[in-house]
């Protein structure tokens, strides 16, 4: 932005993120197979959590059905790949567009609702979505067991089949999402989302079409979640309704609140606490939700702005 505040300290702080990302590139070289997949899953969930943050942390809408868009991305890829033989790199953009469209369509009738009412409506979407998947809609979704045998992506005839190459794909996709988030911060739509969150009436009297921008927030958030969903289907080589149930949405919601709304490092930290830390304490992995539950309570009471809140100026 304007001059000033470009001190060396700020420059250093700005370099931390990219450095950590570069460090992540060493994961497949230095760590064993299970860690590679843990970090791949982290990258995927980080994308979903960041997309949840666009709707919840930035635009201020209590979306507690975000797993739907993650699931749409995963199922679109799984169906197109297993039933119609489309390559992953073709299903991917289709999955993104499909998720974004569904995000726009589902949100259009509810964005005018006040926070708590919108929250209940999004839970409704999530429940219906999972029910539909389990009932084998149009004979495509495979019922409660889901779909197996999702193929690996091919790039110029080269199969990205090893855990390491898949990790790099996920890690690159995360970088792309992080760039989008950074751009959002420095753009009209990023600001408008926050205006709407802080004071919708003031924003509309300055010319903001609240409805359109709220739908846009949902569509962008859903599109990114859909992109992550495709990677998720590829990572697991399968999809099933259980990955996209309402409690997954609750977890995503909590990651944003616990980590720090509209804070990129906060959301990443929240995702790591939820998906990586439990793996470090293997024997305690079954206490994952217990530990995160405690964290949710403690953070909300003692530090309601989140563990790593948004910085004041950028």
């Amino acid at each position: 932005m304007v001059a000033s505040r470009r001190t060396p300290w700020v420059a250093l702080r700005r370099a931390v993120g990219p450095l950590l990302w570069l460090l992540g590139l060493l994961v497949p070289i230095l760590l064993n197979g299970s860690w590679i997949s843990i970090m791949a899953i982290f990258a995927i969930y980080a994308m979903v959590a960041l997309s949840q943050d666009i709707v919840l942390g930035r635009a201020g809408m209590y979306d507690m059905g975000h797993a739907v868009y993650f699931g749409v991305g995963a199922y679109v890829t799984a169906i197109l790949n297993t039933q119609f033989g489309w390559p992953i790199f073709v299903t991917w953009p289709v999955a993104i567009v499909a998720a974004a469209l569904i995000g726009a369509l589902l949100s259009a009738p509810i964005v005018k609702l006040r926070g708590d009412y919108l929250l209940v409506a999004t839970i409704g979407f999530n429940i219906i979505f999972v029910l539909a998947l389990g009932n084998n809609v149009a004979n495509l979704t495979g019922g409660p067991d889901g779909i197996f045998g999702v193929g690996v992506p091919h790039l110029f005839g080269w199969a990205l089949s090893s855990q390491g190459t898949l990790f790099y794909l996920d890690w690159l996709a995360l970088a792309a999402v992080l760039l989008l988030m950074r751009n959002l911060e420095r753009s009209r739509i990023g600001r408008v989302f926050r205006y709407l969150k802080e004071d919708e009436l003031a924003a509309t009297t300055l010319g903001v079409n609240a409805r359109n921008y709220k739908i846009l927030a949902f569509a962008i958030g859903a599109g990114i979640a859909g992109a992550a969903g495709t990677l998720f289907a590829v990572q697991l080589a399968s999809v099933s309704p259980g990955s996209f149930v309402f409690t997954e949405s609750v977890t995503l919601f909590a990651i944003v609140l616990v980590g720090g709304q509209a804070s990129i490092p906060g959301v990443l930290l929240g995702t790591a606490l939820m998906f990586v830390v439990p793996q470090v304490f293997r024997g305690l992995a079954q206490y994952r939700y217990f530990a995160f539950g405690i964290a949710m309570i403690v953070v909300m009471v003692l530090r309601p702005q989140g563990i790593w809140p948004r910085g004041r100026a950028r």
Partner: protein
Amino acid sequence: MTPPAGGTPLLALDGVGISFGGLRAVDDLTFSVAPGEIKGLIGPNGAGKTTVFNMITGVYEPTDGRIHFAGEDITGRPPHRVAGSGILRTFQTIRLFAGMTVLENVLAGQHLRTRQTWWQSLLATPAQRREEAELVDRTMTTLERLDLATVAHETATSLPYGMQRRVELARTLVADPKLLILDEPAAGLNDKESSALNETIRSIRDSGITILLVEHDMNVVMNVTDSIVVINFGKKIAEGGPAEIQSDPAVIEAYLGQDDEEAIA
């Protein structure tokens, strides 16, 4: 400076009224604002002044009457479209975007002239970055004009009250309004700040912006307005220049008849 009689008004309310349930908050209100004028809207507490503003800016839809602005019927238009036609407003209780800097707050006023599309926003294209830089430059110019440049990067809601008022004003001014609606701009200001406000309001008018203001501070009302509309219980009871209004028996009664609220200056 009385506007030329018979000229086309910039804003015209014609028989405007609104009811909330059984309560008739504003009834058959007709007045107009000429281009380049500073018009005051006054009345005892609860007279319906803010309701009138809310109807003009589209926050409420009137149940009766029409509102015309710059020759167009804007009755019932949603607030964002009213803003688009050139009517910007401030609020009686300051409404800044909490947790955002002064610069980010005032950038909101540039929303309508921003051209970047959503995908340019996401991809940070060169054109988008150029536009952002221009928006910041233009915003900084306005901040300098209102003596806010030094706090551009401070959190707006942490500033002293008088400054927050100026931030809100700056946010409307960067939008280049045709009509600026000020809802009690002097509320909460000390004497010095309210005198400075008089100057600011006049300089805004001199830059070509028409002003409609609600104000309780008679120092402001009597010193800056060209003409005044007085309402009580949602009805117009008087209209005229500041001097006429001060000696109007109906106005005096409306104010003094109330349990010793502020007497007219």
